[in-house]
């Protein structure tokens, strides 16, 4: 960068800085200093007064203009209070007070607008990642068009380092995409053909061709922005009260000041009351906390519906979790192969089971076939004949032999003597105990082995339960439609002690309602299909992995963009911090006003001091809210996710969580 260029950028920056925010306070402050200098050094009181009045006029004119504008539309606001107080001070000859009040008000305003913008920064960042242009393939040519004008079905090109311009599906190419703007996850995700990508994410390498499924307002990013804005505007119950309060507060203060002035015949007292009663800190105390808290959440991929839901979330003391798809990955995988016949190895058993299941539509067939493929076992062709036995398993004819894969009842029926031997029953019982679904494999009635599948527990599930307890959730309950032994096995792995198994959707709803009758504030986490009634009944319905679902973003009380269980305790923690922050702010505001009123009535608080303290309280409230924008306390992450001595199954899952 050349010297002249950096100088000119600096010049522009300085000019903008002065032109915008600080011009009025700077000039006005200089006049005040000059007035002091003239009066001290030269003793020229006339000049000193003139400079003070100039300072007051410079800082006060914008305030008076604003107050006049407000009055033309019949709004009585804080500007009017300050205008009347400053004008009054000039009229009665208190030039220093007039200058000080307007100067401090101007400084306070400049600081307020600078810092308040910061509390909105999370949303501003989201809007900033919205893509502007897209490179579309039209008739084989690359055409650059505004991102919002891309049609559904068109293919856009995403080069390394550019933003993904639309929501869509990768149809060719591969690459890494930073999805932090959507999910809060900063590690880039690998994208290959068939994967979904989102507008506003950034390609960090590779080259993708994406078929558009949504552009402009019909993208996940646009939905998130809308949700965040609506959430920030949705008023918390506490805030609705404050709004009603501030509507009559300002006029009431004017009346009070007039009455006080008439009764005491003390104009200074009346004017001072006007200044100190400015409601600034009070009216912004709640919005700043909510805007900062909800913005912070959005940045981390946690969308909270609004102030009311923040307040409710902060009270959550019971969490109900669906098992399948929430605590577990939601797709069964092969866990065990036990060979039970001399001469048969585990590969032989698995290969035979896979061949028998090759023609099956059953959900438990897929994990067996996948595992066989992963181990490189040949599964040639389809069985000559396949006969599913409802609720028991499958019987297939392979090379003229009858192969049965299924539960004990199915295999027993395959044998003339119905006797399977103790070892088979024992193996099946052991596997079932461990929460797996065992399937016995038999050839012409002779058992050769047992295979078992299970839905694997998510690696972070146990840590989530621990962190929920740490943020103050007293009851963690598993609600599942699955059978008791499987549910118990998963519950013991993740540290949940309350299990309700074999539940129909209505029974899940009833379980949530039961917790509520016991006085709990219940959050329910589910996949939103069979859990819908329970989600709607719970005080807070939580949707996970919502990035892929527009409906979830719009309807869930808390939408966690990423499929990451640890976001749940993080969201509860954030809600608690935000509500605590709100309370601190209300306290700061009320204590300040009370102290100032007492100060004025008892004497000692002048107009200038009143304005100074008032502006400080406003800034204190804003700065306090800004604390929410910092990343969550490291305390939440201090405990390592894995402790030595945990059960081996869990540990091995952590070691290879994505081995398919």
């Amino acid at each position: 960068m050349s010297m002249s260029m950096s100088m000119s950028t600096m010049g522009t920056r300085v000019r903008r800085w002065i032109g915008h925010r600080w011009a009025v306070p700077t000039v006005s402050g200089t006049a005040i200093l000059a007035s002091f200098a003239v009066s001290r050094l030269a003793g020229a009181t006339g000049w000193a007064d003139a400079l003070m009045i100039a300072a007051a006029v410079i800082a006060g004119t914008p305030v008076v203009v604003k107050a006049a504008r407000a009055l033309t539309v019949r709004v009585v606001g804080i500007d009017l209070l300050v205008s009347v107080a400053a004008s009054g001070a000039v009229v009665i000859g208190n030039y220093w007070e007039a200058a000080a009040v307007t100067f401090l008000f101007a400084v306070g305003h400049a600081l307020e607008s600078a810092t308040l913008a910061k509390t909105r920064s999370a949303l501003a960042e989201l809007i900033a990642v919205a893509p502007d242009v897209a490179v579309v393939l039209r008739a084989g040519e690359q055409v650059e068009v505004p991102a919002a004008t891309v049609e559904v079905g068109e293919v856009v090109l995403v080069k390394s380092g550019t933003k993904v311009p639309v929501d869509g599906e990768v149809v060719a190419g591969s690459g890494a995409v930073d999805e932090a703007s959507i999910t809060g996850e900063s590690i880039p995700a690998e994208k290959v053909e068939g994967d979904r990508v989102f507008a506003g994410t950034v390609s960090t390498g590779g080259f993708l061709q994406v078929r558009t499924t949504g552009a402009g307002a019909d993208t996940t990013l646009a939905r998130i922005i809308h949700r965040v804005e609506e959430a920030q505007d949705a008023k918390a119950p506490t805030q609705a009260f404050m709004d009603r309060f501030s509507a009559w507060y300002t006029p009431a203060i004017i009346v009070l000041a007039v009455v006080a002035g008439l009764v005491t015949r003390d104009v200074v007292l009346a004017l001072t009351l006007l200044v100190i009663a400015c409601p600034g800190a009070l009216v912004i105390s709640i919005p700043v906390s909510i805007v900062a808290g909800i913005g912070r959440g959005a940045k981390d991929g946690m969308l909270i519906k609004g102030g009311e839901f923040l307040e409710t979330s902060a009270r959550i003391d019971a969490v109900a979790l669906d098992k399948t798809g929430t605590l577990t990955e939601g797709r069964p995988r092969l866990t065990d192969v036990v060979a039970l016949r001399p001469g048969w190895g585990r590969a032989d058993v698995l290969a035979l089971a896979a061949r028998a299941e090759a023609g099956s539509e059953h959900p438990l067939a897929r994990p067996i076939l996948e595992a066989a493929a992963a181990e490189g076992l040949a599964v040639p062709g389809l069985p000559e004949h396949t006969e599913p036995v409802a609720g028991k398993g499958i019987v297939a004819t392979l090379d003229g032999r009858r192969v049965a894969v299924g539960n004990l009842a199915l295999i027993a029926a395959e044998r003339a003597d119905h006797d399977l031997g103790g070892q088979v029953a024992e193996t099946v019982a052991e596997l079932a105990e461990a929460g797996r679904t065992p399937m016995v494999v038999a050839v012409d009635g002779d058992v050769v082995g047992v295979v078992a599948v299970a839905d694997r527990v998510r690696p972070e599930a146990a840590e989530m339960v621990r962190r929920l307890r740490r943020v103050g959730v007293r009851e963690v309950v598993m609600l599942t439609g699955d059978i008791e032994p499987v549910a118990r096995a998963v519950a013991s792995q993740v540290g949940i002690d309350q299990v309700r198994a074999s539940l129909l959707p209505e029974a899940k709803l009833e379980a949530v309602a039961q917790l509520q009758r016991e006085g709990r504030t219940v959050a329910m986490v589910g996949d939103g299909v069979n859990d819908a009634p329970a989600l709607a009944t719970a005080d807070i319905g939580v949707a996970m992995g919502a990035a892929g679902s527009g409906v979830a973003i719009e309807t869930a009380d808390i939408a966690l963009m990423k499929d990451d269980l640890l976001k749940l305790p993080a969201a509860v923690g954030l809600a608690r911090r935000t509500v605590a922050n709100m309370r601190q702010n209300i306290t700061i505001a009320l204590v300040t006003v009370a102290a100032l009123v007492a100060g004025v009535l008892l004497g000692g608080v002048t107009m200038a001091i009143g304005m100074l303290v008032h502006e400080l309280s406003v800034l204190l409230v804003i700065v306090n809210a800004m604390r929410l924008l910092r990343p969550a306390q490291p305390a939440e992450d201090r405990n390592p996710p894995q402790r030595p001595g945990q059960d081996a199954d869990n540990a091995s899952l952590r070691a290879a969580p994505t081995a398919a």
Binding site: K66, G77, I78, A148, Q232, D233, T250
Partner: protein
Amino acid sequence: MNTTTALTTTVLRAEGFSCPSCVAKIEKRVGRLPGVDSVTVHFASARIEVRHDAALSDVDALIDAVAKAGYVARPAAF
């Protein structure tokens, strides 16, 4: 509902909202423009939502009215 005029909704994002009561000014200023059906000012997210007849008051007219109330606003893409 109204078949003679076509109302559109325009969302403006504004800067420098620093006190909730000041935003009432915007509501009233913009609301007085011809063809404006309703104005909602959201303080927390600094948004102004206007339902208006673009033939009578276009987006620039809305931005001018907001400027007269003392705030800078620009139209939002979505």
